[in-house]
């Protein structure tokens, strides 16, 4: 632990010469982490709660501002004034906004997300059924991004300004500019209709066949991952090249290391720091990306539920899904912070 800590810290390799100072630093590093942990967690939890509170209230507010009414939405053209008012009463829509919000909040804290207006089922069970779909899609895209972009970035940095690098660089620029939903359409057309690798719209539920489910998700995952992949690769390449210019690299070379040795043992770890930040942001973004790409590939996940619930004015569902997404983004931010500290203890809390 301590060994790595200091090595990464300054990127210097002369362990033997600085034993004393290294131990000293390691101590600071150790105690600092422990004492700060509690504070850090408490602070994060408070901000999380506050953010969720604000987000959920904004959703409530937004629904009271936009036109449309869930009772009318359910009754449609059959609505009569009597039926409408009775249904509004049943749904509890006649009470003031702040009372409705308070009620929702209290039940939410108790773990009850209410019942969907459209589906008459508990929001929890609805969301629990859909989370695996969207989460698998997001995680799959993330893995693809990480597995493709890191080797690609390293390759480009190593072969800087050669043909392959130039080519990938140009391709990256193009891919970066393509939004996920359009990428989704392209992939559907290319792999679905031309190569017939999958059936467009032929989503298979995970309850029916896990392998079929995962296979179908590969294509939307590519659509989400590709643009992010291009960005990450480019970022890593730049970051690696910047690092390579630093003094410790010269020292490393002078100690007889080969390019690969310098790159993988010393430079890469330092160069990854900005990339980790970006990947963290990308993971949050990917959830949003999956919501859109779900529409293109007709995957009945959280995104589909969210969009239809918005147009049906199904508040309980919209509320729960948005809070969930907010929590997801916040959780990822926390995770990124923690990873920072592991990778680079110099980073202040």
């Amino acid at each position: 632990m301590t060994e790595l800590c200091s090595v990464i810290r300054c990127g210097v390799i002369c362990e033997a010469d600085y034993t004393g100072s290294r131990i000293e630093h390691a101590d600071v590093c150790g105690t600092g982490m422990k004492g700060g942990d509690m504070k850090y967690i408490i602070k994060k939890l408070t901000t999380t709660a506050a953010t969720v509170l604000i987000v959920s209230f904004l959703v409530f507010l937004a629904f009271s501002v936009i036109p449309g009414d869930p009772a009318l939405s359910r009754l449609g053209t059959q609505a009569t004034p009597e039926a409408l008012s009775a249904l509004r009463e049943e749904m509890g829509l006649n009470r003031p906004l702040i009372v409705r919000y308070g009620d929702w909040l209290i039940s939410f804290v108790r773990g009850d997300m209410g019942e969907s207006y459209s589906y008459h089922m508990p929001v929890q069970s609805m969301i629990l059924e859909k989370i695996p779909i969207t989460l698998t899609l997001t995680v799959m895209s993330f893995l693809m991004m990480a597995l493709i972009s890191v080797p690609l970035g390293i390759y480009c940095a190593k072969h800087r300004d050669q043909f392959a690098d130039r080519f990938i660089y140009t391709l990256n620029q193009v891919i970066m500019a393509v939004p996920p939903f359009f990428m989704g359409l392209l992939i559907t057309w290319l792999f679905g209709l031309i190569f017939r690798l999958f059936t467009p719209g032929g989503y298979i539920s995970y309850t029916k066949s896990v392998s079929g489910f995962l296979y179908y998700l590969i294509f939307p995952a590519v659509a989400i991952a590709l643009p992010k992949c291009a960005m990450t690769a480019k970022l890593l390449r730049t970051s690696l090249l910047d690092e390579m210019k630093k003094d410790y690299v010269r020292t490393a070379y002078s100690r007889g290391n080969h390019t690969n040795g310098v790159l993988y043992r010393h430079v890469l770890k330092n160069a990854l720091i900005p990339v980790v930040t970006f990947m963290g942001m990308a993971l949050g973004d990917m959830l949003a990306g999956s919501i859109i790409v779900e529409q293109v590939f007709k995957i009945p996940g959280l995104g589909r539920i969210l969009l239809t619930s918005i147009s049906n004015r199904d508040y309980p569902v919209v509320q729960a899904v948005i809070v969930l997404i907010a929590a997801w983004v916040i959780a990822i931010n926390c995770l990124v912070d923690i990873i920072y500290k592991i990778v680079d203890p110099r980073i202040e809390e």
Partner: protein, 508 residues
Amino acid sequence: MKQKMLKNILSVVVLAALTIALGGCAGGKAGDGSSLDSGIVIGIPQDIEDSLDPHEAVAAGTKEVLFNMYEGLLKPDSEGNLNPALAGEYSISEDGKTYTFKLREGVLFHDGTAVTAGDVKYSIEKCADAGNGDALNLAAAFSNIKELNTPDDKTVEIVLKEKDTDFLSYMTVAVIPEANKEPRTDPIGTGPYKFVSRSPQESIVMEKFEQYWGEPAHIQNVTFKISPVDTAVMDLEGGSIDMYARISSAQAAQLGDNFNIEEGTMNLVQAMYLNHDCEYFRDKRVRQALCYGIDEQGILDLTSEGKGTVIGSSMFPAFGKYYMDELKDTYPRDVERAKELLAEAGYPDGFSFTVKVPSNYQPHIDTAQVLAEQLKEIGVTADIELIEWDSWLSDVYTDRNYEATVVGVDAASLTARALLERFDSEAGNNFINYKNAEYDAAFESAVNTTDDGEQTKFYKECEKILAEDAANVYIQDMASFVALNKRYAGYEFYPLYVQDVAKLYILE
């Protein structure tokens, strides 16, 4: 230590990637042609978002699915007749006020219990109670019921306050078991198919009900898959769905040899509905000018390759008895006459107004666009404003805050009344604010008469008044195209908004 951890993480990642890749290979096989063994997959444009409880179902898209699970004492057929269903026989008293239904022997609910007179009573009373919030407009019709008796377990006797010639058509209302406390999530009916499961925004699954009293269904499993209409062609060609109703003529043309295209009518009145409280449309001459200004066949030619039926009033051909074909010629296209009428009305240079069109339904948008172009020729500018369906319901339909709108209006039941009722000055759903004493009188006579011939005459008079008064700019009953994979056959069009899956069968 950390390097070890990194290695662990890396191996997990690689493992996961491998699982995905291997899963992919297996999935490729599983994904192909699986629709045959799992039964027919029918694409529907939207999920059931009102309720699985038939008495709360209001959306046409919901009713067409639930038709397969629920039945009433009587059941409509594809010809528009009402046939005995749960009631094996029925009789109507001389004065037309007492209806006696004898329940068919051996009819079972999907949970295996027998249908009793008590269940019928429960179902009718549930709909009659407007106060339970979600009841349909049936509440109004059932307010005419004086008493509902069940002399024995198999007999239902209904006594009306006033004679109502349309009453039998309301007896198609679904009968559900009184014992079921959760009809919204655990639907139980008597239909040829029973509910298996649903997954929001994904699918609704049904299977053949083996103990069905009538002619059994042919296909074992049915999945209604939620699949937007704009990608229907891709889904049909790709094989993820076998049938899709109400696709456009352009989509029908794109489909390859694997599909049969059935052509029928939508059974709705597509028109540019005018708000009679708007200052322009209060004037009959302006409304007439608009009617003279448009060329219905031209709209059909441009939007659906000429398919569809031009109509001239609030009635469509499926109602053979009431439909008057000649009304479509009330206002043939006549640009000069239209301009004259506008000048007389005080708009020699025309005027401009806004047409609100629901954005979720392309055929109405297409119609509005052609219509707007045609109206330019008479100097009238129609600005199209696309609005979300929910906003349409609240702004246009409920608050009547609009100038004109292009939509299709369908019939909730097999009665002329269902289409004409809303134009009565006092009707709660008179969203065009139509007020015409002559019309009110004709409609009232139609409702109150006890003679079927007389009633038809009065309803026809209503239609005629709507046409001549240019109440709305009537356009068409749209053509409906159903794509059905050639493995299946037996599709039947109904004068109602239903998909009768029990009639479909697999070709060997």
